[in-house]
């Protein structure tokens, strides 16, 4: 199937500073795709290139097989939901939604019908006569979405549409967005710096960093098999274990001489050779923490002694920082019945940290700078 929408080798610079570099991305018809990345990584720039507000310094934008790079925004079948809503303050909710149809010189009956349908979709029919200033943040957001969708765009661009809302409202709007997408089936290109937002909404995610698209995949792929230390640390939290390959056990496993933890078994999903320097990412929730030494066989799982340095009770789970040899490790433990546990692990306790070989994931690219993204105990 040919891509429905495509960024082909897009590069852009403002003046001399490159802001977007070598971005190649294809969207399928009807999917929700999220671009996530830290502030300033070029997400908005990429979205404005898709909308036509920015002419990329290199590369092409394709919609439905057609090169639209040179088309101005008003000629593209693409609409945008702006971060600050950008509703027209002098027009009513009805007229805001009708704007695109009126510009396209649709007949009166068509406008009334289409806007009516949109008002139903966003559940604001009784507010049609109000001005934007009389609406709440969530309502404005819904009007902005309706105003874009009423034009039946091929692609809907959303630039951090929920950033201005509080947490509870954000969660409600996420469900709402999901429902709207289900009803209209439009392709969504969604930009956010909030990875949980992206994970819960998207079919696929693209992680951006410093103008580059680092990795594209389903939420599970991105979370379970990040390719670089940046993706591993930006999407969720993790631990990095650095070391040298000591020996290959079989086609699935090898032994790593870790700088701090000693010899550990690691899942081998990429080719490695003895002596290679590798970094393994292990998510905090993959560990299990016990008071007594578990009976592990050292072939398929690892077990190291450690000391509890910090305990944070979070409700559904508890977060620990434990030190083993010289490495600080972040651990998350779910608890079913916390109060029934005779004595929960506390600060200063000795314990055993266990994980399976395939809980760790080998990274292709590691940069020490990405350690800064990890959650650390504050002291």
């Amino acid at each position: 199937m040919p891509a429905f929408f495509e960024f082909r080798d897009i590069g852009h610079q403002f003046g001399k500073t490159p802001v977007v570099e070598k971005v190649n991305l294809s969207l399928n018809r009807g999917e929700v795709f999220s671009l996530v990345g830290p502030s300033g990584c070029g997400k908005t720039t990429l979205l404005r290139i898709a909308a036509g507000f920015i002419q990329p310094t290199r590369g092409a934008v394709l919609l439905d097989g057609e090169d639209i790079t040179a088309l101005p925004p008003d000629k593209r079948k693409i609409n945008t939901v702006f971060q600050n809503y950008a509703l027209f303050p002098h027009l009513s909710v009805f007229e805001n939604i009708a704007f695109g149809l009126r510009v396209a010189k649709k007949s009166k009956t068509d406008v009334t019908r289409a806007v009516g349908e949109m008002l139903e979709l966003i559940d604001l029919a009784e507010h049609a006569r109000k001005k934007p200033a009389q609406l709440s943040g969530g309502q404005k957001q819904r009007v902005a979405i309706a105003r874009a969708l009423v034009n039946q765009p091929d692609l809907l661009l959303l630039d951090e549409p929920l950033a201005a809302l509080d947490l509870k409202l954000r969660q409600r709007m996420l469900l709402e967005l999901d429902r709207i997408h289900e009803e209209v089936g439009t392709t969504f290109l969604y930009v956010t710096h909030d990875q949980t937002e992206a994970m819960s909404l998207s079919d696929r995610i693209g992680v951006m960093h410093q103008g580059k698209l680092l990795q594209v995949g389903t939420p599970a792929e991105i979370y379970e098999s990040p390719e670089s230390s940046f993706v591993a640390a930006f999407i969720g939290d993790t631990n990095f274990v650095v070391g040298k390959v000591r020996r290959i056990v079989d086609e699935n496993r090898f032994v790593l001489e870790a700088e701090c933890l000693g010899e550990i078994v690691v899942w081998r999903d990429k080719p490695v050779a003895v002596g290679d320097q590798v970094t393994v990412s292990i998510r905090p929730e993959k560990f299990s923490l016990q008071k007594t030494r578990p009976a592990t066989n050292g072939e398929t799982s690892n077990s190291v002694p450690c000391k509890i340095e910090e305990v944070i009770y979070l409700g559904p789970q508890t977060r620990y920082w434990v030190r083993s040899a010289d490495q600080l490790i972040s651990v998350i433990q779910q608890h079913a019945n916390y109060l029934l546990d005779e004595t929960p692990l506390a600060w200063g306790d000795e314990a055993w940290l266990t994980w399976r070989a395939n809980d760790g994931f080998m990274l292709n690219a590691y940069r020490e700078a990405d350690e800064a993204l990890l959650t650390l105990p504050d002291d």
């Binding site: 945008t80 027209f88 002098h90």
Partner: protein, 257 residues
């Protein structure tokens, strides 16, 4: 607790201070005495004489022609100037801004003299045309000033939104930019209009024979000792100006948020 009477007293005193002279003028315009001083009974004769006075009629016509034309010119030019200043950022922008605001702070008499010198050097005959040009120069500054204030709080993503929804430049201008700037433009225009009506100093320099406006005419009548007529004229003139200022205040207040 006893409410303080100070605000009431102060407000009354200030109003008396401001409006007593005007009240005297108002009363005198109905006084059947040539030089005021004593009250000789109510009359409308000064108003009647006024409407028959040739000089006053011509001056009124001139004033209206000048005010309307100069207002149109300064509104269009002032709005364009404000837009340009706001949109096209450059290192010279601050300088341009100061240059546009110049006429707001330069004493009228200097403006008058410099304009007169310019017209004389270019051998432009003084007349209604020169008055219109002069009034447009300062009117433009006021319009630009007011519109720029509006633009400063204008959300430019609205223009992006309009384009995104399929509107070309003209449609965006008509459906989004002008409707939102309109209160500012109108208030600026009214300000330019009243200033043009009121201006004496600059007009005095650049008006030729037969192109006097009302303020210049009043000054002339002062010299020829017709105070009672002037009272009546001033009352009418002031009422008109007052009405326009009120209207402009109302327009400026209109906001969308």
């Amino acid at each position: 607790m006893k409410r303080s009477r100070f605000p009431f007293v102060a407000t009354t005193l200030i109003l008396v201070f401001l409006y007593l002279p005007i009240l005297v003028l108002f009363a005198q315009s109905f006084n059947d005495a040539r030089f005021g001083g004593s009250w000789n009974g109510f009359t409308l004769k000064w108003y009647k004489l006024l409407f028959e006075h040739r000089g006053v009629i011509t001056a009124t016509e001139n004033t209206l022609i000048v005010a309307v034309t100069a207002t149109l010119l300064s509104t269009v030019l002032g709005t364009l100037a404000a837009w340009a200043l706001h949109r096209f950022q450059s290192r010279m922008q601050k300088v341009h801004q100061v240059l546009i605001y110049g006429p707001l702070v330069v004493p009228d008499i200097l403006m008058g003299i410099s304009l007169l010198l310019l017209f004389v050097n270019l051998s432009v005959p003084l007349g209604l045309g020169t008055v219109i040009v002069a009034h447009s120069t300062f009117g433009l500054s006021y319009v630009a000033f007011v519109v720029l204030g509006r633009l400063q709080e204008f959300d430019h993503s609205l223009l992006d939104a309009a384009r995104d929804l399929g509107a070309g430049s003209w449609t965006t201008l008509w459906r989004v930019l002008l409707p939102l700037l309109w209160p500012g433009i109108a208030a600026g225009a009214l300000l330019a209009f009243t200033l043009s009506l009121d201006d004496f100093v600059i007009t005095f320099f650049v008006a030729g024979p037969g192109s006097s406006t009302l303020p210049v005419q009043v000054y002339g009548m002062m010299k020829h000792g017709q105070p009672a007529l002037i009272n009546a004229l001033s009352v009418l003139f002031m009422s008109a100006t007052f009405g326009i200022v009120l209207a402009s205040q109302f327009l400026l207040r209109k906001r969308y948020d």
